[in-house]
């Protein structure tokens, strides 16, 4: 009220007095009479203002809050209710400013987050594209590998087939050389009586040509085993012929063993006169019956080409 009165006084000399009175009033108004809680509101506002990042986002709200805090800090005398009301208003305005600052801050961060998310998405897409690309490449290389493998397998198969064919051909040639006969027991090589003199079991020196071919064959096919059967004509007793046929078979076996064929591959047996292949009534028939049959047994997994051809 004093200040109001002083304003009406035109005399400049009153200025000093006015200042003095104003100071006096201000002095009385401050320290002890600021309402309870106003200091708390002031510190809360100061905290917000000192956070320059947040404060910059809500200048209008801070200004309003500041004005309310100034009012709250003013003396109210004994009107405690008025002081409480002003503190309440100021406190809420500061809180509103704080909340709005948080909102704006979040909104501003959102642009950054959105950019970050876009980057993550881009990275994801790039990665997916790379992955797809790699998968395609992998598939391509896989296909190529498979194709190569298939070609190799086909080549191998064909070479196997060619080899098998060649083998079969070679074996057939060998069989032809031996003049063997393919039977279900195996290849049967009949050594005529030209090998032996009548009643003798030792081999004639000039007749081993066929046996030598057999040695070559057996060396070529080491898996093959041989059964050597001796046969005679009906001249003489059965026992005698049995022994003779056995001896002749043993003779052939011994010869083959001398040429390096393992004994385990060679089985010799005498059949006597029990299995004639011709009439014993004629000389030519008896000659055919005097023989040694060398049976080259088919291997466990028989080569059909050899037997069917």
């Amino acid at each position: 009220m004093n200040t109001l009165n002083i304003n009406h006084v035109r005399a400049p000399r009153m200025l000093a007095l006015a200042s003095a009175v104003t100071f006096a009033v201000a002095g009385c108004a401050t320290a002890p009479q600021s309402p309870d809680g106003s200091a708390d509101v002031r510190s809360k506002l100061s905290a917000l203002q000192s956070n320059s990042t947040l404060a910059k986002k809500v200048p209008v709200e801070i200004r309003e809050a500041e004005a309310a805090v100034v009012i709250a800090e003013a003396t109210v005398g004994k009107d405690v209710a008025l002081g409480e009301h002003r503190v309440y208003m100021a406190d809420h305005l500061v809180e509103i400013a704080t909340a709005k600052a948080a909102t704006r801050n979040a909104e501003d961060q959102r642009a950054m987050l959105s950019q970050k998310r876009d980057e993550a998405r881009l990275a994801a897409r790039t990665r997916e594209a790379d992955k797809a690309h790699r998968a395609t490449e992998l598939a391509q290389s896989k296909t190529e590998a498979e194709r190569a493998l298939a070609v190799a397998a086909a080549a191998k198969a064909s070479s196997n087939a060619a080899e098998a064919a060649a083998n079969a051909k070679e074996m057939q040639r060998q069989i032809d050389v031996l003049q063997a006969e393919a039977t279900d027991r195996g290849l049967v090589l009949t050594l005529g009586d030209v090998l032996f003199a009548t009643g003798r079991s030792d081999l004639k020196s000039g007749g081993t040509n066929t046996l030598d071919k057999l040695v070559v064959f057996l060396n070529e096919y080491p898996g093959r085993t041989v059964a050597i059967e001796g046969h005679t004509d009906d001249v003489g007793s059965l026992d005698m012929n049995q022994i003779l046929s056995q001896h002749r078979a043993d003779s052939v076996r011994s010869y083959l063993m001398q040429k390096g064929i393992q004994s385990v591959r060679l089985a010799a047996s005498g059949m006597g006169e029990t299995r004639p292949i011709a009439e014993n009534s004629s000389e030519s028939g008896r000659q055919q019956n005097r023989r040694v049959e060398v049976i080259i047994k088919n291997p466990p997994s028989a080569i059909p080409a050899a037997s069917t051809n």
Binding site: Y88, E95, I96, E107, L113, R117, E128
Partner: protein, 133 residues
């Protein structure tokens, strides 16, 4: 003349009485002001805005306080304590605005957290997909 003097004296008295009555009337108006309709309406609008924002979910305490303050303001009007009604109306308004502001802040922060989570999830997924290769 005495008659005239009496009339004049009575007239003066009337003037004085009238003035005094007028003064009293003015004083009466000043001490018992009109209800703060505008402030009460402002509080109601602020509460409605906060409700619409979803303050009952995100700032239930503040919204409730704003409603209580409005009820107190209405009671003060009934009690013809218009000063108190004004203060409660203002407090109701500022509290409702705070409810709305806090609701907005909560929602904004939630949106950001959602974005961070989804970005992290995407990154994590990519990392896993990368590991599988």
């Amino acid at each position: 003349m005495p008659v005239l003097n009496r009339i004049i004296r009575m007239y003066r008295l009337f003037i004085v009485a009238s003035l005094a009555g007028g003064m009293l009337l003015i004083a009466g108006c000043a001490s018992a002001p009109m209800a703060p309709i505008a402030s009460l309406n402002e509080a109601k609008v602020a509460i409605q805005v906060a409700e619409k924002d979803g303050a009952s979910q995100h700032a239930a305490a503040e919204l409730d306080e704003a409603r209580q303050k409005l009820i107190l303001a209405d009671k003060a009007v009934v009690a013809e304590n218009m000063l108190l009604a004004q203060r409660f109306a203002d407090e109701s308004t500022v509290t409702a605005k705070l409810a709305a502001a806090r609701t907005e802040a909560t929602k904004a922060v939630a949106i950001n957290q959602d974005m961070i989570r989804s970005a992290d999830a995407l990154a994590e997924e990519m990392k896993r997909a990368g590991d599988q290769q």
